[in-house]
């Protein structure tokens, strides 16, 4: 029996700053907002629990962007630029880098242990990386957020932005996944911090038993923030710069811990050092990230796989340290090695490509924003993995963007007067859209549609089984099928609130997939093989040395894709560090 909307209780809240997503970026945004103005009401809307939500659930063993002594922000811009084929927003990168160290140092003060070298300086793990013991870091961050007085709404899923008559964002709507209520939160300024999108593509370990979520990225970050923005007509950027990277095979876990931290080269089945031998022309060991990320897949295709990170030279002490690092980030990787009785000094760790993710902390995908982190929608600010333009942000950069977006939001609030004119129709329509799937009638299960979408994207939009390859015809097919799936969502049924959340995750992923495919179609070149390999346009097209952006028409549903020119601030060859 379909439910009666009148029976669903409504919670109407008012706040000054609404932050959607209480992950890394969201918490820092809340902390900064409260620090700058303790009188301000700051509300966090979180679909899980602030203590362990988002990507930092298991912790982290390193901060991969920290400007160490002796290095400059310019250097960072040049390096980061070179890793993405020269395409990033230099203005955003610079003001992010100015704050990045502060966030990490504060985190240490609040209780997160950072490894030190013999001089008492942060222990360097790479050019821009330092080592931390972060298994509790999210809990520590959550404590600070609550201590400063931010209001936390746990287990409330955001479904759409609240828009006023001018199309400005005045808060958000959603539902409680535990209490089943409809939430309407009005805010003077809104910060979207919901992270990126995992699970748009099919992971290769997903085969019907237990491994559905055996992916590198958080499978609970499902692109809600992107989708909400897309539906409201926000401008997005660079979705086609997907993060498809080499990860540990089967476990799909982080690999930088090993390769950066312990100096292990990538080798193929013949024992050759892949980058030095077959990619010498592309830069060898110093080749840009997308080359390194994609190399093992190419080796596999060429018949020289499996590929490994060569851990055979590691001493027992180093191995113990390495496992300790993993215990701080993805502890079950240690279990994985134990479950194979694998001695990595004898048997190197196999690597393979992962399913592609859309994640603005690693690449430039996400909302198109200004330096104050405002998006193209007035009243909406974006930070963290959901915000685009700044690749190689990682944990520190997302935190820094949290600070920036809080500052931007507070500045914006000064000009906000009176109450928003929000139509009752908008609330009614959203309540309907949110709860319509709750039913015990015949229909499609969210899981079924999720799986279908994932395989569609994998086969036709360059997933891992296709070695990330795509062409015009396949992409057009994907687009066509996505449109059909979107229409089919009216048949989704959810038996409980958890399944209702799954239904919305499918809706959001479909939104992201559609925009993604449009971007992949538009960029008719292969600038970053692996991240985007167009078999029909295998070379770099200098005319596409610019940003590919998109905007969906609210009324028409048409996605317009267009370009924006590159603006260089830091001089130099953009493809070299």
């Amino acid at each position: 029996m379909p439910i009666n909307l009148e029976d669903i209780e409504e919670i109407h809240l008012r706040t000054d700053v609404l932050i959607i997503g209480a992950g890394n970026a969201g918490c820092f945004a809340a902390i900064e907002a409260k620090r700058l103005n303790p009188e301000l009401k700051v509300t966090l809307m979180e679909k899980a629990h602030i203590d362990r939500s988002g990507c930092l659930a298991g912790g982290m063993d390193a901060i991969n962007t920290y400007i160490k002594k002796g290095r400059t922000i310019d250097e960072f811009v040049r390096w980061s630029r070179s890793q993405v084929g020269g395409l990033l927003r230099e203005d955003l990168t610079i003001n992010m880098a100015e704050l990045i160290n502060q966030c990490i140092e504060e985190w240490e003060e609040w209780g997160m242990p950072i490894k030190k070298d013999e001089n008492g300086e942060y222990l360097a793990r790479g050019k821009w990386d330092i080592a931390i013991q972060g298994s509790e870091m999210k809990v520590i961050l959550a404590e600070k957020t609550k201590e400063l007085g931010a209001e936390v709404l746990n287990r409330v899923v955001a479904t759409n932005f609240l828009l006023d008559e001018n199309g400005a964002v005045r808060g958000a709507m959603g539902f409680g996944v535990r209490d089943g209520k409809f939430y309407v939160i009005e805010a003077k300024a809104t910060i979207i911090a919901t992270g990126g999108a995992g699970g748009v593509y099919k992971p290769y370990t997903n085969d019907g038993n237990d491994c559905h979520h055996q992916i590198w990225y958080s499978p609970f970050n499902t692109g809600a923030g992107y989708a909400m923005g897309i539906r409201a007509g926000a401008e997005m950027t660079t979705f086609e710069m997907r993060w498809a990277s080499v990860r540990t095979k089967d476990f799909n876990g982080p690999i930088d811990t090993i390769s950066v931290g312990y100096n292990t080269p990538m080798i193929n089945a013949k024992g050759e050092k892949i980058l030095q031998t077959h990619y010498a022309a592309k830069g060898g060991e110093a080749a840009p990230r997308y080359i390194r990320a994609n190399a093992p897949m190419e080796e596999w295709l060429a018949g020289r796989g499996p590929c490994y990170v060569d851990t055979r030279h590691m001493t027992p002490k180093q191995i113990k340290e390495l496992k300790g690092d993993y215990l701080n980030e993805r502890p079950t990787f240690v279990l994985f090695l134990a479950a194979r009785a694998q001695d990595i000094s004898q048997e190197p760790i196999e690597v393979y490509g992962s399913d592609p993710y859309i994640v603005g902390g690693h690449t430039a995908s996400g909302y198109w924003i200004d330096p104050d982190r405002s998006t193209s929608l007035p009243g909406l600010f974006a930070c963290g993995d959901v915000a685009g333009g700044v690749p190689n942000k990682f944990v520190g950069g997302c935190a820094a963007e949290g600070l920036l977006s809080a500052r931007g939001a507070l500045e914006y609030i000064k000009g906000v007067n009176g109450e928003a004119a929000i139509s009752r129709d908008q609330l009614k329509a959203e309540k309907e859209r949110t709860f319509c799937f709750l039913s015990d009638q015949d229909g499609i299960l969210p899981r079924e549609m999720e799986e279908r979408l994932q395989r569609l994207m994998d086969e036709y939009a360059g997933g891992v089984h296709q070695f990330f390859r795509m062409n015009e015809e396949r992409l057009q097919y994907a687009l066509r099928e996505i449109k059909i799936l979107k229409d089919q969502t009216k048949y989704l049924v959810a038996k409980d609130l958890h399944e209702l959340m799954s239904a919305h995750e499918v809706l959001d992923r479909l939104e992201v997939a559609e925009v993604l495919v449009k971007h992949l179609l538009f960029r008719r070149e292969t600038r970053w093989p692996g991240w985007q390999t167009r078999m029909d346009y295998p070379e770099v097209d200098p005319n596409l040395d610019c940003f590919v952006n998109s905007q969906k028409g609210k009324e028409t549903g048409e996605i317009k894709v267009f370009t924006r020119p590159y603006v260089q601030v830091v001089p130099g060859d953009r493809t070299k560090p």
Partner: protein, 402 residues
């Protein structure tokens, strides 16, 4: 960081096996300790307040008093020192009963005393007002609380109510400071005015676990087990065990995380010593403690550690010895069993020298050592080891002399 001071007391020569010079010498090497003083009889010394002012003037903010058991003179010491020092920054190290008296060997007793002082220094160093000093009851750090309500359910005195936001709020007056809420809190966010998990963990970290003999950490409930150990030490009981004891308000106050810390730091074994079932002053402290230990034993097994490393040891509440029966003298008249108020005597047939005899056997578990049976026995077959007739007559004689 403020200066630390240590006040050592010789207890009027009652600690002959403690090498005080060595203790002073080791402590003086620690730069953070600004002052070490030795007194002969701190409890009888009329100038404790003056001494306190001197210490304060020399830069001491946090003080350790190394003397007799805190159960003996803590009130006196704090009372005299508190006008000058913040009472939360004063800690008593039990170097008399639990070091000097419990351990015979001079060297071992001195080392244990030193470690005891270091543990107290660590506790007092970690002492901090997180809000727990403001009221005389348990304190919950609300901004970390997940409202699991375990403390509300487990409190033996129903002393924790929920505030308007649903957070637990212990009530002053009702709260008996037993610490059972602290022991059960999975987020480790409850503290008592002078008992915080971080402080106890810091004490555990001071222990040298690398010594050859197994080191056993014991958490003893102050009311009974700790007092009993002091009493046994006073009576001349000696232990071979390499024991490091931390007094706790109740064994129910021992949070699994500090047992885990002890194991992580290197303790070979951890024992919780407290009351027996149905005799716990806080009704269910022992039951909760035992349940936690059972779960932890399972975890230890999964970790490939012997579950026997952790144990709960119970003491009976009565310290008096049980009534003993002299079988030779017992006539089997069973008058004692009629007058025993606890049903602790039952008839038993005894095979003795080929003949069957009835005797009034004792049921030790039920016996409370009241001695009423001894009063009625015509055959002088009942006796209480602590209270022989001769002893009692002697006490009466002495009383008459006064």
């Amino acid at each position: 960081m403020s200066g630390f001071g240590v006040l050592l007391c010789r207890c009027n020569g009652q600690m002959p096996n403690i090498d005080f010079e060595r203790i002073v010498s080791v402590l003086s090497k620690d730069k953070k300790i600004s002052s070490v003083e030795i007194m002969d009889r701190l409890c009888l010394d009329p100038v404790m307040e003056e001494l306190a002012s001197q210490l304060k003037a020399s830069g001491v903010e946090r003080l350790v008093v190394a003397a007799c058991s805190p159960l003996f003179n803590k009130k006196l010491f704090i009372g005299n020192l508190a006008p000058v020092f913040n009472p939360h920054f004063i800690e008593i190290a039990n170097i008399r009963e639990q070091c000097s008296w419990l351990v015979t060997d001079h060297k071992e007793a001195t080392e244990k005393a030193l470690e005891s002082i270091k543990m107290s220094l660590a506790k007092v160093r970690k002492s901090k007002n997180v809000g727990n000093w403001d009221r005389n009851c348990a304190f919950v750090l609300k901004n970390k609380c997940d409202k699991c309500k375990r403390c509300v359910t487990e409190c033996p005195n129903q002393a924790i109510v929920l505030d308007s936001e649903g957070f637990p709020e212990p009530q002053e007056g009702k709260c008996q400071l037993c610490g059972i809420c602290l022991g059960g809190c999975p987020l480790k966010i409850i503290s008592l005015p002078d008992f915080r998990l971080e402080e106890i963990s810091a004490m555990l970290e001071q222990i040298d676990y690398s010594v050859r003999e197994p080191v056993v950490v014991s958490f003893m409930c102050e009311r009974h087990a700790y007092l009993e150990l002091d009493t046994l030490a006073a009576k001349g009981y000696r232990t071979k065990a390499n024991l490091r004891t931390i007094p706790v308000p109740c064994t129910g106050a021992v949070n699994t995380s500090i047992i885990n810390d002890a194991i992580t730091f290197g303790a070979d074994g951890v024992v919780l010593v407290g009351c027996n079932a149905s005799q716990c002053k806080h009704r269910q402290g022992d039951i909760l403690a035992k349940a936690r230990l059972t779960n932890l034993q399972d975890t230890l097994q999964r970790m490939m550690l012997e579950p026997e490393r952790i144990a709960y040891l119970s003491l009976s509440e009565n310290y008096t010895e049980k009534c003993q029966l002299d079988i030779e003298k017992c006539s089997g008249c069973m008058v004692c069993s009629t007058v025993c108020p606890f049903g602790a005597i039952e008839a038993q047939t005894l095979e003795h020298n080929g003949e069957k005899r009835l005797i009034a056997a004792r049921v030790p578990q039920a016996c409370r050592g009241c001695g009423i049976c001894a009063g009625y026995c015509h055959s002088a077959a009942c006796w209480l080891p602590d209270s022989q007739d001769q002893e009692i007559l002697g006490l009466i004689d002495r009383a008459m002399e006064w």
